[in-house]
Symmetry: C2
Subunit: 242 residues, 2 copies
Amino acid sequence: MSMQDTASSGVALWRLVADGIERGIADGRFAAGDKLPGEMEIAETYRVNRHTVRRAIAALAERGIVRAERGSGTYVEAQKLAYPLRSRTRFSEIVGADGREPHGRMIEASEDVATRELARELGLKTGAPLVRIEAIRLADRTPICVSTTWLSAERFSGAGTVFAATRSMTKMLEHYGIRDYRRGATRITAGIVDATDAARLDLPLGRPILVVDATDLDLDGKPLVTKHSRFAAERVEFLVES
Amino acid sequence: MSMQDTASSGVALWRLVADGIERGIADGRFAAGDKLPGEMEIAETYRVNRHTVRRAIAALAERGIVRAERGSGTYVEAQKLAYPLRSRTRFSEIVGADGREPHGRMIEASEDVATRELARELGLKTGAPLVRIEAIRLADRTPICVSTTWLSAERFSGAGTVFAATRSMTKMLEHYGIRDYRRGATRITAGIVDATDAARLDLPLGRPILVVDATDLDLDGKPLVTKHSRFAAERVEFLVES
DNA sequence: TCAAGTTGTCTATGATAATAGACAACTTGA
DNA sequence: TCAAGTTGTCTATTATCATAGACAACTTGA
């Protein structure tokens, strides 16, 4: 294959190779810690120059998906984040327990009104004013999930600003005097990532996502916030404990 | 946007613009016959040089999706193929009625054995020998669908070779003395195109497909062939008549 | 210790991508 | 008829993509 062959596609060869390797990892053909085939062998399977393979590997290494060791080989770094679904889970604790650095960032906050379903989840009336917060969470520099969070605008007035400053749901709730909370009803489904989330999660289009709808409750069991989260399926593994 | 900005993505700018326009057509933002915005305007919306837009438009024109008219503008050519689901439908007739040139090509043929479901559809026993034919159908040069066809290997021995030569399901059946047949049970669902079909249909990954499972019967109502077809949803429109 | 195999780095070349500016050729509507 | 707006074509420049070859630096196992 030469650049001429793929000229009309508009997708660089190294990108095709990188996507191929990444898919191999996501599909489990290469597990965490596994050694990839040598650069020469990869070059032959994709019928591509070794330097093109190196470009692909460099891109994957930059994203922390593989790690090249001189003289030895290239190894799969990517490991799915073990995400236990306990009653009291904090993203930062889960990521920290995995030996990684948790980060959060607000994408957008806006006013909204409760649909019937949102109202039911939050124990409010349909049409009640809500704050809607769009946020992303990362482990080291890898995006793990994007979530849409809704809260009562009356009880949590200015929540968007507070969250943007604290970058943490827990700290934001502390600001309103809530010292603790726990997970309530949780629903998990799967789907295909849409273009917006794909860009935010740094995922190629068409990749699977885990969709989680959950409501957090205060210690009295009253709803505080309800969330609609989309996790990059290839980067996380939910653990349901019995 | 400059090439530097998107360097790490491995996807050419013109391709992003072309995909954007194509998606606009697929979504119905631009209908068949519509005039696209001027090249300058498109360049501004994508923050790209006009020549890059021209490259994108040239790629779309090559695929027959748009048509540029000097001094006037660029127009949407793409029109969904109206595909009536009648009892007696032949792909070539449908495409011909649309004023386009039908084509067919075999991708692959192989031996297979009947799963329980295939056996039920074809009125055979589980494990019965089958011929499996993978084929693609086009209107002019646009791929419309890929289909996997199964036939009894006993009754239609060598069907793969015959189909490869005649490039027509109808002619292949004629070779076995079947002058006419009609559509039996048909199930329609939708899904996301997989990588293999995406390449065959010349579709970007993540695009929707129409999945049709159908069995054709002879005039006595006995099953002849059963098919699993994947249509590019943005190129075809099924018409169910009452 | 050594050979084989691995990744890292260097130079070099040609093709493609993207930008930029200018002008021609054409269509449309006033 | 004319002005404004459109697509078509040309030259030119810079950066990236992909290939190619050679060798260094390193790891591993015999």
